[in-house]
Each structure stands twice: as structure tokens, then as C-alpha cells.
Amino acid sequence: MSTVYALLFIVATLVLVIGLARKIAKYAKVPAPLKIPTTPAPVTQTGVVLRMFREVVFFESLFKSTKWTWIFSWMFHLGLLLVLLRHVRYFMDSVWLPIELIQPFGMYAGFAMVAGLGGLFVRRIFVDRVRYISAPSDYLWLILLGFIGFSGLMMSFVVHTDIVAVKQFFTGIWTFSGGALPVDLPLLVHITLVIVLMLLFPFSKLLHAPGIFFSPSRNQVDNPREKRHIVPWAKALEENEKN
């Protein structure tokens, strides 16, 4: 049982890392032939970094558009971040101080995460416009993430899992020398769903995570008059015309 999970976890990690790397490489390789930043846009590279920082950390554009969606999705994402940081301790032997410090917040961030997902789910059902654009997978993602959060909270607050054993299992996973995974339901549900999440991530709309960094309307400097911007295929087109 533990070996099966260890294998699954390794496969899922590989799929996630390689899948994402391939997508990112693809995005990076496809050229953006024209300058299309949504203006008013920064006129320097530093400005672009700041703009992207505000987008990624504060969801600036979403804040401008829909306050409810912003509240719920920010709660979810921030909660998720804290929870993930808290989880780092399961994968390292001597835990870094920042991770130590985050532990108490991480515990409760799980509630924010689940509440945020709940809010997004309710919006998806009750706002007619959002319902119209939703495919089954859009609901399923929220449900999947919700159950991951819920099962995690169960372990923290209701049925305590033997986390020492869990840690042993994960730190030893690469060598197959780790301990046995404790057999209790919330933990198995939790880990199974996380594996599903990792397997599907590179093939799903969760690609918005790397995608945002490649969005030309957000990541381009507004300087087309100052600097000529030309990509290889456009350059080739030009050369061909000359001949």
C-alpha cells in the first residue's frame, strides 16, 4: 500500500514537473510578434516587474472587475499558499525558521482556502453569466480542491493523523526507505486527491498559473516607438520581400 502510494506520488511529481516545464518551454518559445500591452502600461522593465507583482500577489485586475470574485479567489489562493508553505515541513528534515513561523497561520489558512472555494462554487451556480460559461470540469476543480482542503482540515482538527509517520514516509520516498503511510481515511483521501491534482495540472485550466507570466498584455514594456520589436518569423517575412 505504502509502496503504491510512493510510486504514484513519484509519477505524479514527474508528470507535474515535466508537463509544466514543457508547457512553459512552449509558451516561452512562441514569439509575440507585436507589442500589445494593455495601456496605461509601464514604460520600463522595472515597471513591468512591479505590474506583474501586483497582478500575481494582489490580483489587481480582478480587484478592478469583480469584488466578490476577488475576495473569494484571493482567500483561496492566499490560504493555499500558506498551507503549501506549512506542508514544506513534511518534506525536509531540519525545518527552516520561516516555515516554523508560518505553522500556526497555515493551520487556519485551510479554512480560508475552503471558504474561498465555497464562495467561488456558489458564484458559479448562482450568477447566470458564470453558470453559462462553466463546463463540468470547472465545477470539478472546485470540488476536488475543496475536498483536498476539507480532508486536510479533518486531519488537523478532527481525526489527528500520525504526522511523524507521514513525514517519515515523504522524506524517505525517493529512497523507498521511508516508513509506512498511516492508514486512515482522511489522509488517504487527501493524498489521493492531491495526486490527481498533480497529474491533471499541466493539462488543465490551472495553466493560468504559469500563463499569467507569459501574457503579452501584462508582461510587455510600453516602448514601441523607442525600440523596434521584431520576431524571427516577421524578420524572415521582411527579408523574403526584399529578395
Binding site: T38, D138, P216
Partner: protein
């Protein structure tokens, strides 16, 4: 053509987000190219090809490899819904396929079906659908109901820009021979004659001579409107509407007066007698480039040092953001000035230097508000600071008129509502969508009229001006309530040596 019948939406105090009503705009379909030459002149098949299914997918793969925006935008959407109430066409028509994400999904569901793992094996789960003949018709209908105004891209957490998707969709349709008559006919005209309206050189010359006479009659000063004058300092490129219709032509008179007072030598060109570039509307880099090259060529032939663009929205986007890429580099021009410059930048510089003698009372019969044209606002800049595109036109207007108020702040600047006629929609067969799409802008304007006594709407885009001229009467306003910014400049400017009314009075009393 039978006049289309539809109800003009009634103006309310606010634009409420409507409950969606499927298919209200499904019947809207602009004319398809009926003269195959208009497709082939642009490098596309004359009519819908037999192997359109295969060709469509080939083109999509091609776009995936050439445009990062296409690939990333199709993948990244999470269906959060934040764009759903941002499109003026949705607000005016209630049709969910006019919601930005609804419109994109028409293409995205096909992309998913053929280009993604999930869509290939679990199409129902992720909302992927097969490409059918009906899909093409739906694309044709709804992607020609997008003015590519980019309002949605402001509000999307990932900056997904429906303009990019609708350009791509139109390029795909063109590549299989399913082009739109309005856009393609115009581009063919530019390639052949040199401008969108198909005005030949002599007609332009004639118009310019007429303008010289008008200005002289009015002011007593000879202001030249030169055409094809070699060795001029400045090449002015302006939309052909400026030679042709009200209120555009009043703007052109304004530019002429400004250049005259600046004491610069300038010229228009018959080969580059069009600022507009419909190549962008159909997403065709090649056509955009071909249209842009005329300007480059004219600049070289005339030996000018600077290029200035007249009032136009999408044209300014191509000029500002793409010209250097498409037709550059412009190393042979004067490096002290940006290439190209917007006429508002030019005029504003003169105003700041105190070189224009302005009498604001020339516009005292009007209370003005300003319409930020979509592509100027969200796709370009003026001056050297972000947001200059909002400040500079307003600075010009405020320098030439006493009565200025802004419309509701949620409807201007980067959040501006589109006029409803841009992006290749300015054709009579799309009147219904144009009128309904103008609802949010008309609402904000109507409020400014009621609350602040606004009488006129000033704009710096030829399409906005043409669109408002047509659409305002549907909402109980007058077509001449839309004015050019440089028309206002023209009204206020006192030319050197110009006889003022006071001078005339003095003369009369001396006599």
C-alpha cells in the same frame, strides 16, 4: 436592402447588467465577400475552400506557433466570469456569446477539442466541441460583433484580450476564404487606390484647395493644405474620412491651422492618404504590413523628417505600437521626435510652449465632454508617461474651451466604453449591433447632458465620429453633437494676421 428592424434600447440612469438571453444576436451576419478579388487581392482564397475543416485546423496550429497571445489566452482562461459584464455588446444585447469569454469560447472549444489532451479524450468534461460548418457561421457572426476595444483585457486577471482572439478568428476565416465584405473590400481599396474611401489623388487635391479657400474666407489668412510636397518637414497621415465628411473635415482644418501657426512645412501624401489600417481588424500581419509600407514609402519619397498622425483610434494603435515593427526602422527621420507623433502631442507641445494664440470663447457655445477612444486608451500612449493618452487630449481641449466636464469616471480612461463601431463593424449591415453596443456610452453621455449641461462630445477617432454621427439620433440626440478635438482647436485659434471681430468693428467705426 430592406431596413433592419430592431428596437433601440431605452436609456436608463445606469447600465444594468442584463440577465442573459441566448441567441438574441445570432441573426446578425454582415455581408460576406461577394467579389472573390477582394479576397485574393489580400492573399486569401476567393471563396470558402472545400477542405475548410483541415485548413481551419492547420491555420489554428500555425497561429499557435506564431502568436504567444493566442496560445496563452486559449489555455489560461479559468472562466472566473470577471469579463462577463464588461463588454458593451453584451450589455446592449444580452446575448451571452457577446460576453468576452463567451465569444472566445466559440474558438476555445474547438481549440480544446483538437489541440489539448483533455479535449481530445474528454470533450464533454471540458466543454470541447467538434469543428463543424455551423461553427464557422457562428464564428463569422460573433467575431464580427467585436470591436476589438480591449475593455475586457483591462479586467481579466490574466490580461486575456478578446481582440487578439477575434483577430485570430477572422484571420482563420479569411484563410479559408470566408472573409467579411466590409473589411476586405476596404483593404483591397487601400492596396489599389491608397485609402479606405477610394479617393483618387485629384479628389483629395480638390478637397484641399476647397479647404484653403474656406479658411481664407473665414479668417483672411492663407493657410496651405499641401499635397505631395517633396522636402517638407512633416508628413501628415490622417484617416481618409478627414477629406470627406463632417465633423472629420473640421478636424483637418484644425491640423492645418496648427501647422501654419507652428511655422513648419508639412504635407499630405496621395500614396499615404489613409491612417486607418484594416489589416489589424482581420488579424493579418501581412496585410497590416503592406498597408503600413505605403507610409514608409511616402516618407522616403517625400524626404520628410517627421511623421504625424491625425485623429484616429485603431490607426493610432497601429501607428504607435506597430509601425516601427511593421515598416521600421525609421533611422532616416529626425531622432528628436518620436516616430510617429500624434497630432494631439504636436498641438499640446505648441500650447505648452505658448506658441498658439487661443481664444477659448470661440467654443463658448458648447459644453464639451471627451470620449476616450478605445484603442487610443487601451492600446497606445501619448507623451512619455503612462496615461498620457488620457491627459494630453484633455489638456488640448481645456486649453481651447471654457466648458469641459468628464463623464462618469467608470466609463472613461482605461475603462472607457467603446463607441460600438470599431474593429470592422462600421457598416450599415451591422447597424443593430452598432446601436445596441453604443448603449453604455450613450448612457454615460446622456447623464452628463442631464447633470452637467453637456452639449457636445469630442472624439479623436474617425470611426468614433462616424459611428456617433449615425447612432446618436437613435438615442434622441443630434448627429452634430459629435465634434473633432481639432475642430475645437480650430474654433479657438487666432491665426497670426487674422482679423478678429473686434478689428472688424474698429475698422467699421473708423469708416
Amino acid at each position: 436592402m430592406a431596413k433592419a428592424t430592431f428596437d433601440t434600447p431605452e436609456l436608463q440612469e445606469f447600465v444594468d447588467v442584463p440577465a442573459l438571453e441566448e441567441g438574441t444576436m445570432a441573426h446578425i451576419k454582415s455581408y460576406v465577400v461577394n467579389n472573390p478579388d477582394h479576397n485574393t487581392d489580400l492573399g486569401f482564397p476567393g471563396e470558402l475552400v472545400d477542405d475548410w475543416h483541415e485548413k481551419t485546423l492547420e491555420k489554428m496550429a500555425d497561429l499557435c506557433s506564431r502568436y504567444r497571445s493566442f496560445q496563452v489566452y486559449l489555455d489560461a482562461c479559468v472562466k472566473c466570469g470577471s469579463c462577463t459584464d464588461k463588454c458593451h455588446y453584451y450589455l446592449g444585447t444580452k446575448d451571452p456569446k457577446n460576453m468576452p469569454v463567451g465569444r472566445q469560447d466559440l474558438l476555445r472549444k474547438v481549440y480544446r477539442r483538437y489541440f489539448t489532451f483533455a479535449g481530445k479524450y474528454f470533450p464533454k468534461l471540458v466543454g470541447a466541441e467538434d469543428l463543424t460548418r455551423e461553427t464557422l457561421d457562428e464564428w463569422y457572426s460573433y467575431f464580427h460583433q467585436c470591436s476589438q476595444c480591449r475593455r475586457c483585457s483591462v479586467f481579466c486577471p490574466y490580461g486575456i484580450d478578446t481582440a487578439e482572439i477575434s483577430m485570430a478568428a477572422r484571420e482563420i476565416l479569411d484563410s479559408i476564404g470566408y472573409g467579411q465584405k466590409y473589411c476586405n473590400e476596404i483593404i483591397a481599396k487601400v492596396h489599389k487606390i491608397g485609402n479606405n474611401l477610394g479617393l483618387p489623388g485629384p479628389a483629395i487635391e480638390n478637397t484641399l484647395e476647397g479647404l484653403e479657400e474656406d479658411v481664407e474666407d473665414e479668417t483672411g489668412v492663407v493657410v496651405k493644405f499641401p499635397l505631395d510636397v517633396k522636402g517638407s518637414d512633416i508628413l501628415l497621415v490622417t484617416p481618409s474620412a478627414d477629406f470627406f465628411a463632417e465633423p472629420h473635415v473640421d478636424g483637418l482644418i484644425g491640423y492645418g491651422k496648427v501647422f501654419h501657426e507652428a511655422g513648419v512645412s508639412w504635407t499630405l501624401s496621395t500614396t499615404a492618404s489613409e491612417a486607418g489600417n484594416f489589416g489589424m481588424f482581420i488579424g493579418s500581419y501581412e496585410n497590416m504590413r503592406r498597408v503600413s509600407m505605403r507610409i514608409r514609402q511616402a516618407a522616403t519619397e517625400l524626404g520628410v523628417k517627421r511623421i504625424v498622425f491625425g485623429e484616429c483610434g485603431h490607426a493610432w494603435r497601429i501607428a504607435y505600437a506597430f509601425l516601427n515593427t511593421l515598416a521600421g526602422p525609421f533611422d532616416d527621420l529626425d531622432p528628436n521626435y518620436p516616430v510617429p507623433q500624434h497630432i494631439c502631442e504636436f498641438t499640446n507641445d505648441l500650447i505648452e510652449q505658448g506658441k498658439l494664440n487661443l481664444d477659448k470663447s470661440g467654443n463658448d457655445d458648447m459644453t464639451i465632454t471627451f470620449h476616450d477612444s478605445c484603442n487610443v486608451a487601451r492600446a497606445t500612449r501619448m507623451g512619455d508617461k503612462p496615461g498620457g493618452q488620457f491627459e494630453i487630449p484633455r489638456a488640448v481641449i481645456k486649453a481651447v474651451c471654457n466648458n469641459y466636464v468628464d463623464m462618469d469616471h467608470n466609463t472613461i480612461g482605461e475603462k472607457t466604453y467603446c463607441c460600438g463601431g470599431g474593429g470592422g463593424l462600421l457598416t450599415d449591415d451591422l447597424m443593430e449591433i452598432r446601436v445596441k453596443g453604443a448603449l453604455p456610452r450613450m448612457t454615460a453621455l446622456n447623464n452628463a447632458i442631464k447633470d452637467h449641461g453637456v452639449t457636445h462630445l469630442a472624439a479623436i477617432c474617425a470611426i468614433c465620429k462616424s459611428q456617433f454621427t449615425k447612432v446618436m439620433p437613435y438615442y434622441g440626440m443630434d448627429m452634430d453633437q459629435i465634434v473633432s478635438v481639432h475642430q475645437l482647436v480650430s474654433n479657438a485659434i487666432i491665426l497670426t494676421g487674422q482679423q478678429t471681430e473686434e478689428d472688424e468693428d474698429d475698422q467699421e467705426s473708423e469708416e
